[in-house]
């Protein structure tokens, strides 16, 4: 939290760059000619960006953990302290979720500047954002414990997070994909999260299943993170 406070200005600035580029490139380029389910492409895009950004920003704590483990050796300070693995994992996950929530606020603010009004006070919208960031922050902790170097971490981001960011229903509706591709994409937690976030942002009732799917995935990843932190002792 201390570091977050210290870095907040540059963090917000860096969190604004990609969404701003997406909004300009896709929003203006597509214009109002493209509509999905009665919404402009910008209205469709912003909830997708929220889902994507809550995923990438919460997953970004893996880099912080890596730096703490491999370069600064601060992880050992936590390992030697009288705190359980649950406390450590929960702390890191909450740090990831905090980053995600800040980035979502940045996107919503940018969206407003672009004249897009969404139901962002809807608690179901924030619940979906929180669950999505919980999933990817937990996954980040687990994977950060498994990798042996910072380079491995970059590979994971390239092979797991980047494809998911583009295919998980963020930039286009999943039902427009071929059936076989849709089946694969439906396994991704981001697909369910973006569906719930988009529905809630449009003021609709998202249904229980995406929340259950994302929540359960989060619990699995959190348990995995606990196990990986324990194994990191070797």
């Amino acid at each position: 939290m201390l570091l977050l406070k210290r870095r907040i200005k540059r963090l917000i600035l860096s969190m604004s760059v990609s969404p701003l580029l997406y909004l300009i490139a896709f929003g203006y380029a597509m214009g109002k000619s493209v509509r999905f389910g009665g919404h402009t492409y910008l209205e469709f895009l912003i909830p997708g960006l929220v889902a994507m950004s809550s995923m990438t920003q919460s997953f970004a704590i893996a880099t912080d953990i890596n730096v703490a483990r491999f370069y600064w050796h601060i992880f050992e300070e936590f390992q030697a302290a009288p705190i359980g693995n649950v406390a450590y994992v929960a702390g890191e996950v909450l740090a990831g979720m905090s980053r995600a929530l800040i980035s979502v606020t940045v996107i919503l603010t940018l969206g407003m500047l672009f004249g897009v009004r969404l139901h962002c006070l809807n608690p179901l919208f924030w619940l979906a954002v929180a669950l999505n960031s919980f999933v990817f922050a937990s996954l980040a902790v687990a994977l950060a414990m498994l990798v042996k170097s910072h380079a491995d971490q970059s590979l994971l981001t390239s092979f797991v997070i980047t494809p998911m960011a583009f295919l998980g229903g963020t930039f286009f509706p999943v039902d427009r994909l071929p059936h076989w591709a849709g089946q694969i994409i439906w396994i991704l937690p981001l697909t369910h999260a973006s569906k719930a976030i988009r529905q809630a942002a449009f003021g609709n009732l998202p249904g229980l299943s995406p929340y259950l799917f994302v929540g359960l995935t989060g619990i699995i990843f959190f348990t995995m993170a606990l196990k990986c932190v324990d194994q990191a002792r070797d």
Partner: protein, 279 residues
């Protein structure tokens, strides 16, 4: 008190530690001396919960390191070989986070930070970002941080490695002061003079086994009082003598260059294991 019985650590098929046993008495300064890769850091890592043991048992003030790990962890402070401070935070913030990890109340944290930063002579730098400190200052801060929760045991893993002689001596003074306050100290080092100056007892570790354990004085008495270093068949050799007279007699009959000096712990290690501590 630290009690270790038959400690083992195996990495795949390599025995990093093999049936290591020793006991460190309360208030004692115990040095663990050996060459790089002998098993010094592995022992500290196991005792502090950073690495899982493969066999054996260990207790810190009566608390088993695996079965009662959280209570065992409350007993010690740890200064690692590598600098493990948060470089982007200030001295005060680093100390404060450590206090929070040990569940210390805010008022107590404030008092301890002031006390300890004063103790290691860093109070005037309390608001400095750690990355702006010198190596010696960082080491002193790590010692202060390790003492934050008033531990009964202090583990020091090569605390003066990479420091210049002046700063090293300053840290030695600090370690002695800590011991005088009643703290049990477990120190690993490969600096002979460090163990000689600081330790009440020394354990020589080599290839994961304790080769010998005794006081520095007893080790040196066993080896002899005087040593002569000379070249023989193109190799440096040391010969040990019980007294100066014996050494002088040897010198009188020796042709070629030599160095006459007092025996040190390095000689004791050499005569026990056939190798030098610094390799």
């Amino acid at each position: 008190m630290i009690r270790v019985e038959g400690l083992k650590k195996t990495y795949r098929h390599v025995h990093a530690l093999d049936e290591v046993s020793f006991c460190v008495k309360p208030g004692e300064l115990f040095a663990y001396l050996g060459p790089n890769g002998a098993g010094k850091t592995t022992t500290i890592r196991i005792l502090t919960g950073l690495t899982r043991l493969s066999g054996g048992n260990a207790w810190l003030n009566g608390f088993h390191i695996e079965r009662d790990s959280l209570r065992a962890k409350r007993q010690f402070g740890l200064v690692m070989q590598s600098i493990n401070l948060d470089q982007e935070l200030t001295l005060l913030e680093n100390m404060d986070i450590h206090g929070r990890l040990y569940g210390m109340k805010k008022a107590l944290r404030r008092i301890r930070i002031r006390e300890l930063l004063g103790y290691v002579d860093l109070m005037s730098r309390k608001d400095t970002i750690v990355k702006r400190l010198s190596g010696g200052m960082k080491r002193r801060l790590m010692v202060a941080r390790a003492l934050m929760h008033s531990p009964k045991i202090l583990f020091l893993d090569e605390p003066t490695v990479g420091l210049d002689p002046g700063i090293r001596r300053r840290i030695w003074g600090l370690i002695k002061q800590i011991q005088h306050s009643g703290t049990t100290i477990f120190l690993t080092t490969h600096y002979i003079e460090e163990a000689e100056f600081l330790a009440d007892r020394v354990a020589f570790i080599d290839k994961g086994k304790i080769a010998a354990l005794d006081t520095p004085a007893a080790f040196m008495a066993r080896t002899g009082k005087w040593a002569i270093d000379l070249m023989q068949d193109g190799q440096m050799k040391s010969v040990y003598f019980k007294d100066r007279k014996e050494a002088d007699t040897f010198v009188a009959n020796h042709r070629g260059s030599y160095t006459l000096r007092r025996v040190n712990l390095e000689d004791a290690f050499l005569s026990l294991t056939g190798k030098k501590v610094k390799n």
